[in-house]
Symmetry: C3
Subunit: 179 residues, 3 copies
């Protein structure tokens, strides 16, 4: 799968791969968006960086936390407002929407179909690869409180929930992206 992901690059600019041994600057992504079209670059950049030998941490906050929710979870949260928010914005990689041109789900369907045809990995595959490659996935504690999410609502293999101070400490000296 990773081969597929990085295929065009290896063909186009092999020199980039020779830097593999020295490219050890950390990458820290603040994954704020939970949209399909943002989760894709978040995870493709995270996994590609991990393949290049970089230590990678993704801090999932606000809407970005929802793709980490288990697909089989329906409505989450304890208070009615939390339940209502989860109803309008169901978590899990199976329920991702496009940030624009969503067209009641037709946009994402088309994107996913094209992705399959061109062998671009799905968010679910990318998320599993990220965990396998040792990418650290940190859920934002404050968002979990706000949305009424518990660790049981999230997929396996994520780190202990933490806050902004931890994310900033990890990001010290790293390449940082807010997505």
């Amino acid at each position: 799968m990773l081969d597929t992901m990085t295929r065009p690059v290896e063909q186009a600019i092999p020199a980039a791969f020779e830097q593999r041994s020295t490219a050890h600057e950390k990458l820290v992504i603040f994954a704020w968006s939970g949209d399909l079209d943002k989760i894709w670059p978040t995870l493709i950049l995270a996994n590609t960086a991990a393949a290049l030998g970089k230590p990678v941490t993704v801090f999932f906050t606000f809407w970005g936390l929802f793709p980490l929710v288990r697909n089989e979870r329906g409505i989450t949260g304890k208070k009615w407002m939390q339940k209502m928010l989860s109803l309008m914005n169901q978590g899990g990689t199976a329920h991702l929407k496009l940030s624009k041109m969503n067209f009641m789900g037709m946009g994402p369907m088309m994107m996913k179909t094209l992705a399959k045809q061109y062998k671009v990995a799905s968010p679910q595959e990318l998320l599993e690869t990220a965990r396998d490659m040792g990418v650290k996935l940190i859920p934002c504690q404050m968002t979990m409180d706000l949305m009424g999410l518990t660790k049981d609502d999230l997929i396996e293999g994520v780190e202990e929930p933490a806050g902004a101070a931890t994310a900033l400490a990890v990001a010290e000296g790293a390449m940082t992206l807010f997505i």
Copy 2:
């Protein structure tokens, strides 16, 4: 308030706080969005970084400038187009909208209610804390020109308006985020 903001972190990962004395890399945020759900991470990251001892600058540009407008200002601008834009997108922390699920203001109302229940500071409180902690708030000159805003339209305590070259110069060697 800051205690509340960083509370989950201190409980979860105290080690991050031991780094306080060495964590002096600058943080520069390009705050492009004026939405409630983006102003929150902008100010929480800015204030947390300041609490960790980092010099922090936030450069407010495009839609991001509007939360710096005084809440009591109604329509801003001189030309009719500027007035119309300010009518559709009223400035000030009291008029923030969600980037998605706004539902005519019901989404922000629910978010703000949940934030209050879970002791997450409001944008207004965060903005005041930022100024108190010495976070530099720079309004983008070009945006002020475009939108017809004057320094009198903005809250007290912001820096002199400046442009992209200044923002880039300040960002030299800093951790940078575009939010």
Copy 3:
């Protein structure tokens, strides 16, 4: 044109310009959004950084690739889904929309009119200046595959299409922004 672009800065904070000779940290922008209000900061930051003597690379990915499409191209792509996406989201700097308050094109029209009045360069002018100043414009290979775009669909003067690994390698040690 660059004079216009950086005018407010030179007046406001001349000190920033004295740093010109030492400000050589690279700038790498991941240009994910193709909206008018995001292409503006992308290109203004890129060109201003280039004027300050920084090596600048912009990696155009996902929606961000569309502003690089030639204005005279109509519908692009080979498969019907690609054609349909290009119909809803026509490429080229002449067809940019606002991320919010688009109002069927009235928002962008007003923004462009104000920009002209205040001598802010248009995306088309900024793109041409970027090429003239040696800003490297890299189209994302994976996006081109997904959207069925070929190099013939893109404007002159862009680099060979490449992938995430190349972008990350170029970004090593650079100031990075995801816009």
